[in-house]
Symmetry: C2
Subunit: 317 residues, 2 copies
Amino acid sequence: MTDKVLVYSRFPKTMMTRFAERFDLLDTAGRPVREVFSSEELSGIRALLTAGGSPLGAEAMDRFPALGAIVCYGTGYDGIDLKAAAARNIAVGHSPGANASSVADIAMTLMLAATRRLLVADAYVKSGDWASSKQSPMMRPQAGMRGRHIGVYGMGEIGRKIAARCAAFESEVGYFSRSRHDVPYQYFPTLEALADWCSVLMIAVRAGAETHHVVNADVLKRLGKDGCVVNIARGSVIDEAALVAALTGNTIAGAGLDVYESEPHKPDALTALSNVVLTPHIGGHTLESHVAMQDCVLANLTAFFAGRPLPHAVKSA
Amino acid sequence: MTDKVLVYSRFPKTMMTRFAERFDLLDTAGRPVREVFSSEELSGIRALLTAGGSPLGAEAMDRFPALGAIVCYGTGYDGIDLKAAAARNIAVGHSPGANASSVADIAMTLMLAATRRLLVADAYVKSGDWASSKQSPMMRPQAGMRGRHIGVYGMGEIGRKIAARCAAFESEVGYFSRSRHDVPYQYFPTLEALADWCSVLMIAVRAGAETHHVVNADVLKRLGKDGCVVNIARGSVIDEAALVAALTGNTIAGAGLDVYESEPHKPDALTALSNVVLTPHIGGHTLESHVAMQDCVLANLTAFFAGRPLPHAVKSA
């Protein structure tokens, strides 16, 4: 009998094909489990595949008495109640670093697009405004990357890759993190000190209760009038209402976001602003990072069903 | 009496302010000289400030018998007939390297935006399609930068800066140039060989008669189905009709252009394509590169009027 795996989040079908070769997938496609599967089908479920950002607490875990492993697709696991999992002897795995390059790249894409006003520029050409020499205040030259102070918030694998890329753009890189790392960038002891120093803030911190809304009105104001904030971590890190106010009031110049407080993000005050670039949480979505993340999922599930520890376990779990 | 300088191209007024402090500017704002200034006003013009891409041949030079210096704003000087200038003992200056970082940055911006389909992704969020879970074939994961083969055509200052940035993205970098350079990237002896090897072609070659339309249908086809072409050099290097055909027929996947065969570029078949990102020749348009280019112009004009050789002279002139 093939080992059963409950697919608890919505993933593209093409992504599931590879897992289905090895496991018997019960795919909820993101719908409530009980609407999709009978108790009989769910009986004896020992492993669950989910998106790390989707809430998965004690109550949900208790619905599956035989549950022994929660495997997150991707780096994040902020939706998982790790204490509840530990109390139930449920191992939690993820895909550490597998998508780091791809996520760092989208951070750079968003930063460059926001600071060089790419969307405005593209529309200026395509609308015919350039051809008709129409004046556009938004097209005025802005500060570029050379010598610019870029602040990286969080110095995990993604933060380090962002910092290395920024350095290649001849920018100065500083960072704030809970602890100092062995990296060749200036360390700032607080987020506020980093924000005072930099004009571009790249958010690459692991999300959790302690980072909820830490990028607030005060931090944004410290970035200055040509400030730009880029978030590829989790939407909860930014106070989105404060961000909209800072952008609307020209307290900062622009933003690039791949993640949002609520996903999928609906059209609202944020989407209506011309100086923001928005992507639909596609940081990890490159062909090579999907393969690397799938490798981690397969390794975690294979080890679990063979009775071995997860090779890519969440460290603090 | 202040030295007179004829401003032969159209530049933003704010840019002219600094020059006007030192020189008596006769600004055509891009209009035909004779429509704007009388023969009397133009008499004795010895120096001319122009955009390097604007045509300036023997006939135009002969209208100013006292002309001794043509100073280009920016790196390029492809519009200037260098032989005609040399025959008339007219020195030609430019701003070598002053905008290289800024131009390399826009090349990276265009490459990342085209390969990660940034415009499509941004529209997917802002339109509400993401919120309503609308399927979009354009949003399928694409190849990212890690391990990707990036070909750089031209290894001048801008080409080297593009290559260094690409290397930081964990890509493999190769290049084609008339001669081999002392750089840590794989050299290809022909553009065709480079195109066979790479999937992203970054055009950073100096434009001229020998590079006219060298990026043609054959070269584009060699990039492959996930191919992407980025041009920040001059529009004349690409056969634009062949590019439109390659994009329309999915011979390649996307393009990012800052320069065009005809500028300013009007809405046409190219602007109508969803897999291209277009900017209005803003490669050098950052605050710091404008200052650096202005420094070169001032140094060239000051030296010329003092009877000294131009410090930033065009080498082959």
